[in-house]
Symmetry: D4
Subunit: 219 residues, 8 copies
């Protein structure tokens, strides 16, 4: 038996839920609304969770008639269907350096929630005013995994890691005053952190961070 379904333009990897614990996630950029609709319907039949990332408002408008239960987040540009039940596991804490990092953080937070995790948010606690972070150390200690979302210089990852015993998943963002070379600055900062216990996902890849954190939390 083949473990995938061939739609011509796509081969749906239906073995993924069994192999990896969560079904294939649909990346909507560069796909037509029609293609997304067909993929959604094929996946709904499997009766598992459907997660659709990088979905524009227009794409959502084009497919929401397919099923009333599809949810959408404007800020995170992410849609989902048939969210998994949250089981009693550890908490995932999502932190941002500034207000401008919130869209990427929401993509991470919603991904983790749809995958069945309990998520806590702590936004705008960047190192320019570090007392805002120090006033929340209880939340740092309470988390099983921490996702740090930060642009500009991305220093927040190192500071959070130095204060906590949880693994830190760092997400550089392309946000920046002046030129931050579209997130490259924050990416390099996080890769070169002087504090061990950090691993990094791609620039603006909130989904990747949420997925990775969920895999840790599940273990």
């Amino acid at each position: 038996m083949k473990h995938y379904q061939d739609l011509g333009f796509a081969k749906l990897d239906h073995g993924r839920a069994r192999r990896r614990g969560f079904p294939e996630v649909v990346f909507c950029e560069n796909k037509t609304t029609e293609q997304i609709g067909k993929i959604f319907l094929a996946m709904r039949q499997r009766k598992d969770t459907v997660l659709l990332t990088r979905m524009s408002k227009g794409q959502f408008e084009g497919i929401k008639h397919l099923d009333k239960k599809i949810k959408y987040s404007d800020s995170g540009r992410i849609a989902w269907f048939n969210k998994r039940k949250t089981k009693s596991k550890g908490k995932i804490l999502v932190i941002t350096g500034g207000t401008s990092d919130i869209p990427v953080a929401e993509e991470a937070a919603i991904t983790a929630e749809v995958m069945g995790n309990s998520v806590q948010r702590l936004y705008d606690v960047g190192v320019a005013g570090i007392h805002r972070l120090l006033a929340n150390t209880d939340k740092l200690n309470d988390a099983k995994v921490i996702i740090v979302v930060a642009g500009m210089e991305g220093a927040l990852g190192s500071v959070v890691s130095g204060l906590s015993s949880a693994p830190v998943v760092a997400v550089p963002t392309s946000v920046g005053y002046g030129s931050s070379f579209k997130g490259l600055s924050a990416l390099l900062t996080m890769l070169n952190s002087c504090s061990p216990g950090i691993a990094v996902v791609n620039i603006d890849n909130g989904f990747g961070a949420g997925y990775f954190a969920s895999m840790i939390n599940k273990k």
Copy 2:
């Protein structure tokens, strides 16, 4: 009470074991043998594990008289003292693409072992002959965390991630035929993995991968 000890050239962060679950690790590059010796003695007094990374053979020769129980790995360029007991937790699997990636893999594996984890090694299973990896899927399924160490194009991370439900910590190495721009190629590959569930540490940073994997395993 201060949580650090001031040696003049260094301020030992003795609060770290309490805060983060493992004491400060000593990075030996650019330090003199005398400095390393002083730091070792100060840390030994705390009766906890001492881990010294990026230590040259010459540096080890210069400090090994301080205590017979200091161990050293030539391949991983890492020394340790008073290794933590391995408790019954999940396994960490360390995989390499080729033979040339082994030194970085050993740095990762020994770090995890010294921090009290059970580690399994699976070396030279790169994608040029993917059946070598497919013949070992049982090991992939058996691990709680997987560390993938690969240079050249670094494709192994994506492939392993696609086959397993464990989180993958990817370590790009600076090993390469022709020019791999000192690991930049593998780093970008791993950051852009089409398979979610990967996070990346810096080029050749085996220590960082072992430390991060240990934090996941501990949870």
Copy 3:
């Protein structure tokens, strides 16, 4: 006798068909519709195949009245006239990692077809679900040349190469979740492949891959 025709803004290289086996190909970006029309008419007189790449929909609308037999592919942004007969030679297999890579793949496939080759397509078999590729090894073995089109981390090239005895022409694409630095990540991956038997063309250069594969197949 001069082997080129001077249109003022262009010097048509009419010796190319004799010298290289296929006439000059027209690159439409940065050319006006009027210029493209003049070049088309001058080339049609030579009674050989005309291939026009990177042609926008608008440019096609502006020249299609010149001859009803001009064909156009929206997806591949490529037009052709007087396609060569397909002779009984080996097959060219065009593979993509994902759905988003299809436009570049179509540029490659149509180029090869117009040049008289038999082409087979195998789309969306990226390494995140490698069983989709392994289920199609017969197609890999059946090809005389394989074109692999992949963005994000571009790992598919190495994996395909490791499984086949055909030369692999790799095309990195600028498609990517998060930031793939406009295809640079996939380009570096493919250049640094650990599996020999791969050569690379420029980012998104489907035409170049199709042309090169055709030259191999012809030999």
Copy 4:
């Protein structure tokens, strides 16, 4: 039955000859002489060709006692054993821009010869004196595949491609007057060639070019 042999530090991919038409090639950089010796002996038992690339003079001195029939090229830094018979197929032509590109060209030429091809060399015909190339157009027409090895600006690839109907495999080299950014300049030139029919391998990767050309010639 496993298709590989486990030496601990390496897993020899003995299925490769069957799968790809040529056995695994040994990359010697970062391997100890002892490791190379063990791999050589294990491969010799299979009675097929053994090719060892990027081998230093010192490494060769350390293993040549194992079998008198091992050959070595100083210039190409490559060793081989049990060369394949040259069958009556097309010719591979290896061209260099300058004298300094010869070591990379020799790695390519010897690789192709050991794999059973007939190879012709045409060295030092760079574009600064293009009549040297134009005086040899008969050789260009006579080849089934052409390998162009060039550093500095790497323009030779485009010029040769424009003159011939054979596919051109371009190898940028790190040779350069002033700063050529270690081959990056020639690499970009070759990727951006205005003449179709070129594909590129990594900087200084003569082996990759010879291997790829051999796969084309075999077809």
Copy 5:
């Protein structure tokens, strides 16, 4: 006496004609139409040539009422007033690799003409069909300075330089099939030319090439 005139937002360097042989040239990008008009009127009073580069069609429409004698080139995006008389000096030859390079070439050619030089154009003679260039060697020999404008791989500069005794001023353009990194590829090619006798100006800087060639021709 001050050698400049202060308009508040600009300080016109009226000493430049005396010091450098040609008055200040006005760069129009990022200037308002009103600012350009004021500068034009102030310069017209000096009764010397006025050259305005990178001027959009819209900017020209906004100032052309100021004086009927202002000329404008759409293709070169350049305007001028009171062109210098062409004296009997050597010729400047402007060559392009392709049709897409013509706008930059026109900026160079018009700049040189306005500065009083005799200019000859030879367009679309790129190295993909080198016989088009070889058929025009008489023009190469006839020039006192040659400007080579080429995108993609930029190899034309080296080839022209190898065929001529005139100094070659090379202009990389941002034109390219696939990704040429916005002209970086051609820039590096030209800087690393294996043929001496080339100097390079910035990407797309036709004005700079025309100005520099004029300074050589004047001497």
Copy 6:
């Protein structure tokens, strides 16, 4: 007592005025007009100066009804409220290389003025006509701090520094003829100045330069 005020999407750092001598500055890019309005009102209550940078004309139109006393600069894209009184301290001199650098210079100048400094402007004195700068050496000597704003090659910073005993804060701009790689060229120039006494802020970061100069002037 908490030193910040939690608005949900932002945590206003009200301790900053006490800690750093000036209240938190609001960066408007990527914030909604509604968010900016809420932040403004919260800050106005503190009766200190409010500075809002990178504010678009549209954002200003959306909040100006909140208080008639909000001022806005089109050129500098900056708004302010309740400007500090200028005390009798040294002068800050803001210099630009060209007319196109004025918007960044205005952001710097207004920032410094709002923070209570006396500012002098000297625009369009770039090194192409260095006598314009030399005619103003009295202004250089009169300043306590100099801000140099320059694009293209950014050489003005070194020249000014060599002529003055005041510290020079250099701001590279993304302005440039041909390709200046979006300010990278000027940034590198300024970092590598052969004249000591220069420090650099980010590309186009006029605000950062004005703020830093104000901190020096205050001391």
Copy 7:
């Protein structure tokens, strides 16, 4: 009268002390010991301070016989003669992230001391253990200028700036675990700091930071 002295290979700028408040500083890299000696003697005659940077131990051994009063710092690779008197001005605080940053910090500290400033050192207070910094806020408040020297991710600059009202001069260092791209990571971090009040000097340029801080302190 000329304001410089011509030694043939160098033109000593004796007007600099008058113009800039401190005489020309000698950069010793790429100079012969003989050249350095001649320059020293010529400068000693002026009876002002002589500062010689990037001087190797060998160069110092070669010139120290010229005058017994020449001092040398091994760690900072810097020599000086006739240090200026320290006047009662504000303090300059020099901070490092780690022990490995000390050589660059010493170059900065000694430069400032030789120029007549009072300097305080605070070493190894990086963000991995931020309490070490928080325990020293009195020193931060006590300084008129702060120099922050940090490698790896360079986050220390932002954190210090957020805690203090003094201007921060940031020096990225090329120190790093794994690959920090020779200081590029720390440089970008510091340029993109989310906390205003930072300006940056070049990688490892301790001298530049000390000089710039001295100019601020003098004002």
Copy 8:
């Protein structure tokens, strides 16, 4: 008749003197002493000038016995034989920013002298003390071509160009305090000069500048 002589490892382009006005120049890097000797002897037979660039002291020692008349410059790493007579033409002025740029400047100056030009040197007049340059404007006016050799920020090219009516050939050097990215900073500065009349050769390519200037002077 062939216009080149085939030595096997090299094809001497004897047509070059006729075609370009000066015979082929020998680039010695990556050539053996034996190869250089053979090339020298073959060229000496043509009775024209022989110029050998990038020659190490060791290479010179190995070939100087071939002819007593071979001259060598340690500083410029260049050898020559049978220098051309200097004819009464314009002067070439070679300027450096600092003492460390002299080796590259000497390569340029000697190249121009061997090609028959009259050369004047003006060293160490960088922009940190611009009066040193302003005191020598007579030399700037006296030159037909100016070569500017500068490292660090490379600003000298723009300043010289702004002061003179001669074309400026700019040579960036890899000299730099702190990190100048091996000359990249100076290269970008010179390419982006705000003063027209500059063209650039590769980093440290003194030979290329001398050759290009000679071609201008000859015209």
